[in-house]
Amino acid sequence: MTETENIYKKRQILSAQIDLSKFNKKNFDKATDEEKKQQEVMGESSSFLKDGLRRLRKNHMAMASIIILIALIVAIIVIPMIVPYSYSDMITVNGHRDGTAVNLPPMYYSQRELQYMQETGEKLFPHILGTDSLGRDYFIRVVYGTRVSLSVGVVSAVMVLIIGVIYGTISGYFGGKVDLIMMRIVDIIYSLPDMLIIILLSVVLNARLTPLIKGTVLAKLGGNMLAMFIVFALLYWVGMARLVRGQILSIKNNEYILAAKAIGTPNGQIMRKHIVPNVLSIIIITTALQVPSAIFTESYLSFLGLGVNLPMTSLGSLANDARATITSAPYRLLVPALVIVVIVLALNLIGDGLRDAFDSKLN
């Protein structure tokens, strides 16, 4: 007996090792699938998006806001298909303009409409919010106003998103002199008073642009709105650009970027595949919060008489027009005001909810 065998023997005696020679194959059963499953203690694999959505779903305020907003969007798409009145023209009875349908209280019919209903026995669609001083159905005007205000908000936010992200990514990624020059430009734009420049451009561009866009789709919105979009594109993206640049500066020093560079990944691909996904959460949140700010700006402009062109309307211009009849018909102010508050509140809560759910630094 050699020494190694000796040690082995000793260990066999003292250790808890099972002596396999005492068993044969019959003593062993194959584990069933069920038994195998018991061994799996791993949770389901979860992605960044899934994690965030799970946290978002727990936030009741944000979820309620999302539902309200979706309901509102569905409503402004569907309602104009149901309500038979136009936002731009006076109510007509039997093809004739109805002069008696001016300033009707909610749910009332005009004299001529009552007469018509009596004669034909046909039931006309009610004026849910009455009519305005030009005999237009107010409910449908609020619906169209909401459409305009929401679209202005979304279009502005998307513009800010595109310009801000491209600019910030380039500036942050290349760094050095490029960054220095690009950020000085941002600094200067940041300190320009945006509202004043919007007003200034609206005043001027309206005179210049209106003849240019005549006959196109843009003419419906008018030179003022175009001026606002131009200013958004020129000025409002700087906040987004700064944010994205800051994020990228901190991300680009990570090892995985270095690794990608080392294996010769082109710059564009590094940006698209590695950097942008990492700054995505902050971009989404900022965009969500940009929408209410654009809606605010639009309503201010409408209030100053620099809003959308007549007869198109927005929530801001509805509220402004309602001031003339504030004593006789206060609901005409309250309804658009309420819609603005609901939209802005919902978007703010969604933005906050997204930040809590997706910003990993806060967890």
Partner: protein
Amino acid sequence: MSKYMVKRVLLAIASIIIVTLITFFVMNLIPGGPFTAEKAPSQAVMDALTKRYNLDKPLGEQYMLYMRNLLHGDWGIDMKNGREIGPDLFSKFAVSAKLGGIAMIIAIVVGVILGSIAALKRNKVPDRIIIFFTTLGTAMPSFILATLLLLIFCVQLAIFPVFSSNPSLVLPVISLAVYPTAYITRLTKTSMLDALSQDYIRTARAKGVSRSKIIFVHALKNGLIPVVTYLGPQIAYIITGSMVVETIFTVPGLGTYFVKAITDRNYSVIMATTIFLAVLMIVANLITDIVYKLIDPRINFE
């Protein structure tokens, strides 16, 4: 520090120059130039305008001369009534500054108090009530709030007259103050919570410093720094807000003056007022930035 200051001042000067350039040249984009109204002004006014704005000179020279006049305190003349803009501008500004100043003071005092309460009673009833109202306050444009106040207090309750030549400042101040109050409350809450979790607060507590002294002396001092940074941009809000609030309550301030100039297409007044307000905002932001660096010694100056 001085390097930062120089950089910041240069940036402000560059911004002012750009704003004046934009204002001047954009105004000249108006078909026929800014001084041709639909209803032509009288010959006397036209002559005065040509002489004052050097309309017979090339555009670049016009700008240089306009800027030289500005630096000498000459704001030009009102193309509707031929009067000097300067004195009008400053008397209107005095009214707006009073309105905005009171609103700001109220916003700071109320906002800091509410924010501190919310931080101290975190997740309890007072906190929830305060946060509910501040969320609502930041979701309402000031002109809607102003019109609602007008509806409630002037029309329904008839406490104040709807139109008056010398309106009470109570409602305009409230309309202007709500948004910044809500914002400052949220800001104070966040920074107070941050300050209360710092080590020096625990040290103070361990040493037996009284609760109120910890809150008002130790925590609030650092908790207020973010509020200071917010004050500069706030000037911009007060100005845009006062345009509509003043119009609604017929306060004879700069806002009303500006809005009237816009509706009248009174281009010389629009130009002068825009430049005045823009310079005001840029200078306010400059001062805020410098004060911020001065009061927070934790920030290093590269």
